[in-house]
């Protein structure tokens, strides 16, 4: 009975048939009703047009997706998330931007491009995911597991400083950011003996240009030329 009341109230609200006094709802019903309601309402009061922004950065128009699920079916990390990749696009189609930007899925994505290469509508989901991650980082949306973000930050920090990756520095920064001080500690001796990790970074000579690129790109919002060619 509880579920039915909830559903009916939701339906009436959407189709505006007639209002039901909230007095009839139990407190649990009210909470779930509000959260669903507010998810839909929020669409109308969104201040940033994320749909336009993501289309501009990635050049991909989410409305061409017909939700066939082929991307999710072939995604190597699909099993690790409750929100399959096709649903991320669906959130964008419905205007539920925050759900997409806060999801684990976008940070689990390996960038393997299996989805883009098989999509029947030629939607480049990998590019779309890239744009979502950029928007998430720049607008401070964080998932529960932030390991991947910290890894990327650690990696790029070295490139910013030296122009090339400095693996030792990257791993050091990652461990400090995540607190995983003992991760892969067993592999470390082997890496040193085989000469695969050096303690000193290699610095390129033209460091200024690298600094400039990093500065500009962190401030810039870039327009993409073509949408769904």
């Amino acid at each position: 009975m509880k579920g039915k009341t909830f559903f009916l109230n939701y339906a009436y609200k959407i189709f505006g048939l007639f209002t039901i006094k909230n007095n009839n709802l139990s407190s649990e019903d009210k909470k779930s009703f509000d959260s669903v309601n507010s998810a839909v309402l929020r669409k109308n009061t969104e201040t940033i047009d994320y749909k336009k922004l993501v289309t501009e950065i990635s050049g991909q128009d989410p409305s061409i997706c017909y939700q066939c699920g082929k991307c999710s079916a072939g995604c190597p990390v699909r099993a690790y998330t409750e929100t399959p990749p096709n649903r991320i696009i669906r959130y964008f189609q419905l205007g539920l931007y925050e759900k997409a930007l806060k999801s684990e899925t976008i940070w689990l994505c390996t960038g393997c491009m299996t989805c883009s290469s098989r999509c029947p509508k030629n939607f480049e989901l990998s590019k779309f995911m890239d744009a979502l991650r950029e928007i998430a980082v720049k607008n401070n949306y964080k998932p529960k597991n932030t390991n991947a973000i910290k890894f990327h930050q650690s990696f790029l920090n070295q490139v910013k400083k030296y122009g090339r990756t400095f693996e030792f520095g990257m791993i050091r920064d990652y461990k400090l950011l995540t607190g995983k001080l003992f991760q892969d500690i067993d592999a470390a001796p082997a890496m040193f003996i085989k000469g695969k990790i050096s303690i000193m970074p290699h610095k390129i000579s033209d460091k200024d240009i690298i600094q400039k690129i990093f500065k500009d790109s962190s401030e810039q919002k870039v327009k993409a030329e073509n949408i769904s060619e």
Binding site: Y66, Q67, C68, G69, K70, C71, S72, A73, G74, C75, R78, A79, E82, T83, P84, N86, R87, T114, R118, C119, P120, K121, N122
Partner: protein
Amino acid sequence: MKIGVFVCHCGENISKTVDCSRVAKACAEIPGVVHTEDYKYMCSDPGQNIIKQAIKEKQLDGVVIGACSPHMHEKTFRKVCNSAGINPYMVEIANLREHCSWIHDDIEAATRKAIDLVHIAIEKVKYNEPLIPIRVPISKKALVIGGGISGIQASLDIANSGFQVILVEKEPSIGGHMSQLSETFPTLDCSQCILTPRMVEVYQHPNIKLMTYSEIESVDGFIGNFKVRIRKKARHVREDLCTGCGDCTQKCPIKKSAVSEFEEGLTTRTAIYVPFPQAVPNIPVIDTEACTYFKTGKCQMCVKVCGRGAIDFKQQDSFVEEEVGAIIVATGYNLYSIDKKPEGSIYKGYGEYGYGKFKDVINGLQFERLASASGPTSGEILRPSDKKQPQKIVFIQCVGSRDESKGISYCSKICCMYTAKHAMLYKHKVPKGEAYVFYMDIRAGGKMYEEFVRRAIEEDGVNYIRGRVSRIYESNGKLIVKGEDTIAGEAVEIDADLVVLATAMIAQENSSSLAQMLGVPYDKHGFMQEAHPKLRPVETSSGGIFLAGACNSPRDIPESVAMASAAAAKALVLFGSDVLEREPVIAKVNESTCAGCFYCQKVCAYNAIERKIIKDRLGNFIKEIAYVNTSLCQGCGTCNATCPSKSVELIGFKDDQIFAEILALAEV
């Protein structure tokens, strides 16, 4: 000349951007114009009456109408004038809609342009001459290309009306793809049982000349008067002697090397063969590429066993010329294959499903053959690889269809229905087996179609999973199918024994070359184009050529049958009169000035220019000049533009008419 000018508002289409009453008033000033009027809908009954009235009252002998494109209503207005008593070719239309109001925003400029357009027409009509339509005899015989269900239906309808039909089919037997099906949706009728009576009716019909194993070689002429050349390919079996006893096919030693086209590659056939037992005509054909005699000169087993001496290795292709009045194209469809495609193809293959290399991944027609009682497995569903019964079958819809990345954006219409049918047939034969269908949408719009699909799900226990399959690969004799159910948001992985792909319906092979031969437009996929998608679905823009069935676009059997009868009706409309009236707007040669250079003949696309010898009164040769065949000329004007001595004129668009228009513009 007394000219009447009528300016139509076309509702708001013209009057929104053009001030019609101002146009009418401005034209009243032009010398020769004795009546001007503007009205909301000139093409309507009251509008037409206005014109008729004005003609009678003011004794008009020329009419100019400012309205929509002549493509729309030129015929209408010509009829109006004809019924009011003036020659219909004393009418000129100024296109104030497509050429003016629909393409401009500026009202002042558009109105001035409209006045110019009407002015030009007025000056032209002053030079118009009364013309009489040309009458051409009609050949009351039809040609039907393609002997599938559509071709069969069209042939029977025309033949039963008492007219002769020539039915040309490229395969050794008629029947088409419908003869390969096991059962048809939504009734689950046995396909061959409902088809073969029609096939026999065609074979026995006195009005139908059946030409199987034949192809169209060339088509000339025009509506009512087509000249067709048909190539009868050499069967190497004399049709007049063969009794269809089947001894030759039984004894032919080539059993394994020729792949059976009818069985969609699932089994082999002999070199001398009849495609299927109910073939019409039941006369074998020799596949010269598989036959030992044709390769090495040895064997001749069929000759030895044939009691009638019907084998004729020396037979050649022969040609037949026919004159027909109407042509119906019913060439049907082909199926998209998932094989790797060559460079430059507009389609791509399905690498993610194995590029056709997995034996147990088959298409819909192959499944039909497995399910068919007369098929390679006698109706038992068995895996092609090891002939074991599959316990789990996965059916995948939309393979190729609705897939822009593979080159096909359209929906093939029939797959949702036949997949449900296949799943049901499987469950009826293997009740404990598991059937899964991966779909994106269910398109079941026909009569009893939706109920049919629900029956598969609710009564026969077929599992429908909404989502696509990303990949299929083989592992330990099973096919691993990786898909997704988007409704539940769950990944689905199935270890199937057999996978059936509902591949897209594409155009018949070489449909584009047949279309070019006929002069019929076709799209990038090779489907023949109808004249108008809403109102003229069975006609083409070439008069006298009609379409039936899947050659035009994917469709199922009831629609194809309906379309075939519609095309037959169109042909019968043509045969309803004894003569065809042609537009008299054609070219004409001035015999005095023509020097006989024949440049016009070289450029005429319709072969309408002929040569004529001019003799003096005593019969002595004076000169050979060009002469326009009034039956063939389409009035394109190319000869007119080419002639160096200006001896060819286009009636209705003569030089003095054109110059009058130019001078009228120059004045302003």
